[in-house]
């Protein structure tokens, strides 16, 4: 197969393209599917493709056109040549303002080979799932384990030639809890690099306890406006809104109107976020030394104490915004909170730990989600509730949000352990007295 990659590079070099990028991506994966404790199916995969993009300089370099394709690694020489010629033609119709591709720059602490033993990682997940403390009334309904070793060799016409090998894993679980003939389920999807058995057992044990509580819920009261506390991975959506609005693509396309130096939470008395793109987080599935375009990944502060500091993003949009040495970030860390988790749970508040789906619109900042399990903390009582929904806009809620100084990691995000949004609209299904 090496021969087909070498042939592809040679064809790109002689294609007439003014510039090109190519990635040889090979994934070796093992998958295991369980219904209760029984194996539903085992699957193995070995998939290889070439991701190719060719560029044409147009009108004396005023514009740069590009076209991309996934070329099968088993394509014949004739087919590959035809596809590249087709891309070169298509690139001429796509007139974008000129920019240049990444030059070769050595990444800090570049590791070209990481441990990615799919058998050992799979064994870790299998062992962890057997160690989850199930009971007669709370257990695992079904699980799906996905473990991959990904080998990515990236080259471009400017001289970049880097190879990285890394693990990527995913675990989907459904937890059941039952009582007096009634059964409920909770859904979880975890991403990680390899398997952290301790983390898997801890997260699933927490989910089992939520299952117990969901059986004892009462309808969510129609609160009108209430403070809402987030302490599970749904909070990533909140911080992702800040991150997206600092991406060069969103700024250039007009989706984000945030300017460097702007106070992005101006007008309130809440905690000010500090958001950093970080090169590595423990066991993140996004720990690579280079981004998908061959730029070295490094630590970069995007927002400092609520003030926009640096945009980040792809080579094209970064150059349009005149950014130096930017990159496509994969890991993020959010800090800046002043309170403890306990302080943030004080007073009347609705702590939502299970949504059917929680989303924050990247353009409008509108947030919405249906409540499947929450705790209504009021007058010293902590009452499990379900049903109804929350809505609001991050444009307003960001001004007064509070969050904990202690953090918690969800794959490629390390975010505050607890986040409290004030005056969120809560559409309950039970009238309050």
């Amino acid at each position: 197969m090496m021969k087909s990659w070498d042939r592809l590079i040679e064809l790109l070099r002689t294609s007439g393209a003014d510039a090109w990028e190519a990635a040889d991506v090979e994934e070796k994966g093992w998958e295991f599917y369980f219904i209760r404790r029984r194996l539903d199916q085992n699957r193995a995969k070995r998939v290889r493709n070439f991701d190719v993009r060719v560029y044409r300089r147009l009108e004396d370099g005023k514009y740069l056109g590009s076209a991309g394709a996934k070329i099968p690694a088993d394509a014949s020489e004739e087919e590959t040549r035809r596809m590249i010629a087709d891309l070169c033609r298509n690139a001429e119709y796509v007139r974008n303002p000129a920019y240049t591709l990444n030059p070769p720059v050595q990444a800090e602490k570049a590791e070209t080979e990481k441990q990615a033993d799919v058998r050992a990682i799979s064994a870790g997940f299998l062992h962890a799932l057997r160690s989850v403390p199930e009971t007669e009334t709370e257990d695992l309904n079904s699980c799906e384990i996905f473990v991959s070793e990904i080998r990515r060799h990236f080259m471009n016409s400017e001289g970049i030639d880097v190879t990285e090998v890394y693990p990527a894993s995913m675990l989907e679980t459904v937890v059941n809890a039952r009582k007096e003939g009634r059964e409920i389920e909770l859904y979880r999807l975890y991403h990680s690099g390899s398997c952290d058995e301790t983390q898997v057992i801890r997260d699933l044990s927490e989910t089992l306890s939520y299952g117990r509580d969901r059986l004892n819920t009462v309808p969510t009261p129609a609160l009108g406006q209430a403070d809402v506390v987030f302490s599970t991975d749904a909070a990533r959506e909140i911080y992702d809104w800040f991150i997206t609005r600092m991406s060069a693509g969103a700024v250039f396309r007009g989706i984000s109107d945030w300017k460097i130096g702007q106070e992005v939470q101006e007008g309130g008395d809440g905690d000010r976020v500090t958001v950093r793109a970080v090169r590595e987080l423990p066991n993140s599935s996004r720990n690579t030394a280079y981004d998908s375009e061959g730029a070295p990944v490094r630590d970069l502060t995007l927002i400092e104490n609520g003030r926009a500091e640096h945009y980040f993003g792809s080579r094209q949009f970064s150059q349009y915004l005149h950014l130096e040495d930017s990159f496509i970030a994969g890991n993020f860390e959010v800090t800046g909170g002043s309170a403890t988790a306990e302080e943030l749970r004080q007073g009347s508040c609705l702590e939502i730990v299970e949504f059917s789906d929680f989303q924050v619109d990247e353009i409008t900042g509108d947030l919405a989600g249906e409540i499947r399990l929450a705790y209504w903390n009021d007058g010293g009582k902590r009452i499990p509730v379900s049903g109804g929904s929350v809505s609001g806009s991050m444009r307003e809620l960001a001004k007064t949000m509070r969050f904990s100084s202690a953090g918690r990691q969800f794959d490629n995000y390390r975010i505050p352990e607890v986040t409290r949004l004030k005056n969120v609209t809560v559409t309950g299904i039970r009238e309050t007295k």
Binding site: A44, R46, V47, A67, G68, V94, E172, Y187, L189, Q359
Partner: protein, 477 residues
């Protein structure tokens, strides 16, 4: 013209048949699915343009399914060499054996399943299309889309950008067993206009879309959707928040489709019955909606992006009546779940692509039409909303909850549209309550196939859904 079947797959077929023969020496059942699907996606905006020869469903690869001792296993790979079937047979068995060794070490037992039947069957289908994505004049398409984008920002008030998307895919799939040889080729396309508008510090995105089981000729009429996109953008910019509460509403066909999909689309995927994850299993033959509610699901019940000839397990396409006059009749089922449940597969076994597992998945999910007119329905409402446009939805088959994020609600007061718009809307509730509240159904219907459907939060496939206008009572927030 007919969409021609892939010459690449025709060349692979003899080698794949040899591979099946070799694997049958070790396994009791062997099937192979090979895919060779090509396409393009064009995205044009005022600020950036892109062309790729890749869509959500372009792929080339092979997956082998084998069965022995009550267990099904699969191996997916690229680069099959028809001259070297022996080497691929060796690699597949070694890899699967290595997995089984690990499973033995952990004391894992299989979920015992019977063997799939393998009856003689031949299908060769090349469906009609006017044009093919692989030979489309991309220069002309880019020019046409650019002109629409230019017209959008020129004529639309408050527009920052007008983004055009056009995607077309030529699907070719080959399914083989010892006794079956199924080959299908068809083209589907989808496109849309997104109008990005901003006024007084408020930014909104308005969407309109088109889709069909057809070629890039679909985009010849995309310009017709521009006025609608511009109007929606203006509506969103002047929209207000809804007062949370329960309302009489009329759902437009797009919102009706979202309800069909999230309520009793996912709710009767029968692989969830096997896992005990769907409440629907206990309600077969029971009332789940009003007499006016009838719902169909299947690749044959509409012509849109998911209207294939056979599914990814070789089961011919079907048309299932899921709900008939409010009574839940049956669900949809992939082949392995059908074996486990003692029923028949319905042609709904689908993969995200060759490298992914089969699950029970939707194709076209559509409410049947009724006899009312939209005007009658509006006139019947004292206070409520006409709901239009969808943003997202989330299924809950275990508890029959429903969450739909609706783009816009147009206020109705005293039987008339007032011109007031609310946005966005979170529609939540209990599925049978919602379907039992359906009191009027319009005589027309429409399907929508733009976008993708996930199972949980992964496994994305193409589906369409739709229906007529429905009058119902829902909770909005």
């Amino acid at each position: 013209m007919k969409a021609p079947f892939s010459p690449y797959l025709n060349e692979l077929a003899p080698g794949l048949k040899k591979l099946i023969g070799l694997l049958r020496e070790r396994y009791d059942y062997v099937s192979v699915l090979s895919t060779d699907s090509v396409g393009f996606q064009v995205r044009i905006s005022q600020r950036a343009k892109s062309v790729t020869r890749e869509t959500m469903t372009t792929e080339r690869g092979t997956v082998v399914r084998v069965y022995r001792d009550g267990l099904y296993s699969e191996a997916a790979f690229t680069g099959f060499d028809p001259e070297n079937a022996e080497a691929f047979c060796r690699e597949i068995t070694e890899e699967l054996d290595a997995q089984l060794e690990l499973l033995r070490e952990t004391g894992t037992q299989p979920y015992e399943t019977g063997i799939l039947p393998d009856e003689e069957r031949r299908i060769f289908v090349e469906m009609e299309t006017e044009r093919l994505p692989e030979t489309e004049d991309m220069a002309a398409l880019v020019t046409r889309l650019s002109e629409i984008s230019d017209e959008g920002v020129r004529t639309g008030e408050n527009l920052i950008d007008c983004i055009l998307r056009a995607s077309s895919t030529h699907i070719c799939k080959l399914f083989l067993t010892e006794r079956q040889d199924l080959r299908q080729s068809y083209v589907y396309s989808e496109g849309g206009i997104a109008a990005l508008a901003s006024r007084d510090g408020r930014t909104e995105m308005a969407y309109t879309s088109v889709s069909g089981r057809c070629g890039p000729e679909l985009f010849d009429s995309l310009r017709d959707k521009l006025p609608e996109a511009l109007r929606i953008a203006e509506d969103l910019l002047r929209s207000e928040r809804v007062e949370p509460g329960e309302y009489d509403v009329i759902t437009s066909p797009e919102v009706t489709g979202l309800i069909a999909h999230e309520a009793f689309g996912h709710g009767v995927e029968m692989d969830m019955f096997v896992k005990g994850r769907a409440l629907g299993a206990e309600y077969i033959g029971k009332r789940v909606g009003s007499d006016l509610v009838t719902m169909h699901e299947g690749a044959l019940c509409a012509v849109d992006v998911a209207s294939y000839a056979f599914d990814d397990e070789g089961t011919p396409a079907g048309d299932v009546t899921e709900i008939e006059n409010g009574i839940l009749r049956t669900g949809i089922c992939d082949a392995l779940s059908a074996l486990r449940l003692g029923t028949v597969p319905t042609g709904n076994g689908k993969r995200e692509n060759f490298a992914h597992k089969v699950y029970t998945r939707m194709t076209n999910t559509v409410f049947d039409s009724g006899k009312n007119t939209l005007e009658e329905m509006i006139a019947s409402i004292q206070k409520g909303y006409l709901l239009q446009g969808m943003q997202s939805g989330m299924e809950d088959p275990k508890h029959w909850g429903i969450q739909c994020i609706i783009d816009r609600g147009y206020e109705i007061a005293d039987g008339k549209l007032t011109g007031k718009v609310v946005s966005p809307l979170v529609m939540t509730g209990y599925v049978p309550d919602l379907l039992n509240s359906v009191s009027m159904v319009s005589g027309d219907r429409e399907t929508f196939g733009s976008g993708g459907c996930g199972k949980g939060h992964k496994e994305w496939v193409k589906v369409s859904d739709g229906g007529p206008y429905l009058k119902a009572k829902v909770r909005l927030g």
